[in-house]
Amino acid sequence: MNQCHPYQSLLEDLLAGTITAADGDALQAHCSECNECAEILDLHERLLALGAEIPAPDQDTLDDRRERILEQTMAHRRAAGPAAPERPRFWSDLAQLWQQHPAAAMLATAAVLLVVVFAGRWSVKPSSFDDDLLLQAVQHQAAQQAGLAEYWDAPFSFTNVSVRQRPTGQLALSFDVSRHIDLQTHQNSALAKEVLLHAILEPSSLGSRMGAMDVSAQIEDRRLQDALVLTMHHDPSLTVRLNALSSLARYPYDGQVQDALLTTLSNDQEVQMRLLALDQLGRQHVGLETIRSALGEEALRSDPAILQRVSAMNASSTLSDEF
């Protein structure tokens, strides 16, 4: 087919998937008389059919491959430098325990089941046997959670979450997981932490998100800490980010939190976020060189409020002299 072929541009549109219906009809009609165009149309249809035939991979196989990738990258990181926090693998650990110490595993499993059953009975008044089972399943699942990856894969989706504080360390939880649940439980229970996590990351409203963060600030938990860091870095609302940053004061001298604060110092465009991060880092005696490096020379020069705060942090006023 030479460049002058009148239907070349229509064929190009067809192959690119941008042809209009009218042009498509015109091209079809032309193909009944033109062998060259008919052959290209035929190839186009055969390739479309081939693309549609690609078999979807089995989900278990994908999960297995993903696990292998994560294991390899973790091993690589461990070999390359300081150990990244490991995500405990509940099922593989339990299987290993069964193989190595079956008696101990039996006792541990029985203890876990007893705790789950009694915790369910103590903290709620289920309306029916099915509801009791549902809550036990939610509590059991919450007890297994170790990292944010499990949060993303959680079989239960929590909506309309709200958390209210009650005396003596109790929390009133209210949420929907296929049915609405209201219950009171201790703030350190796995379920309380699970619900808080959902309230922070998938909030029903700004108010519930803020409330959950305030409560989280009183509980030490690695997953809640991760959730607060994610919120501090990525939440679109400045108010929520500020609140997450304040809540992280719960984890002073924690390397990961300090790194997260330095990231905020470096990446967040809001001066209020930077000032608050500076205050927290200052209270934790993070070195001025580290802070200055995270801020960058430009921020120090261009923002008088930040320069003033950094200068105030430097008791010997060395930085003030430099700028």
């Binding site: 190009e12 190839l43 990244a84 993303w152």
Partner: protein, 188 residues
């Protein structure tokens, strides 16, 4: 809360495995389909996907974010697929198909076998095109990518992609016997 690819990358670079797992889940099917279009078998496609994500993890620091992450990932996946194909040819001693050693199109009794063979030949020919034509056709037909996305992966304009697709099809038409020829063989 929605995390963009770039949000997740920030977290991965800060040491989060959960974020990397999330990123893999988001894109694994896309990468698998690219791998499958080259490997033409599930195990091969999964091997390619695994290698792609390991490379992505290693090289994430060098991703400059000027293009969308999916665009960058697609390039990595296509390069890895081509490397995988080459390594398979080395291991199995496959000769690259040339006009001289192409199998002849003899009619066979089993129409299903012939049909499969025709598909295999078509895919072989797609991968024998020059790299840009082969990439463009793979992304268009096996990844169902939009013209704009293909242009981003190839680093050219949308009009150039149209032209690349068209020229690739013309080459395929010249190299492959037309379907009618096979249909006639099936009928005879």
């Amino acid at each position: 809360m929605h995390f963009s690819d770039h949000d997740l990358i920030d977290e991965i670079l800060a040491g989060s495995h959960a974020a990397f797992e999330r990123l893999i889940k988001r894109h694994e099917e896309h990468v698998y389909r690219i791998g499958y279009s080259y490997a033409r078998q599930v195990e091969g496609a999964l091997d390619i996907s695994q290698n792609v994500f390991l490379k992505v993890h290693d090289r994430l620091g060098s991703y400059d974010r000027r293009s969308a992450f999916r665009t960058w990932l697609t390039r990595v996946a296509q390069n890895e697929s081509v490397n995988w194909l080459r390594s398979q040819q080395r291991h199995t001693g496959h000769e690259e198909l040339t006009p001289g050693n192409m199998p002849s199109y003899q009619p066979v009794q089993e129409s299903a076998v012939l049909h499969q063979e025709n598909k295999r030949l078509l895919l072989d020919e797609v991968h024998r095109l020059n790299p840009r034509q082969s990439q463009a056709l793979t992304l268009r037909y096996f990844e169902n990518m939009a013209l704009r996305e293909i242009a981003a992966v190839l680093g050219c304009s949308e009009n150039q992609v149209k032209s690349i697709l068209f020229r690739g099809m013309q080459k395929l038409r010249q190299r492959l016997p037309h379907q009618n020829h096979w249909d006639q063989e099936l009928e005879s």
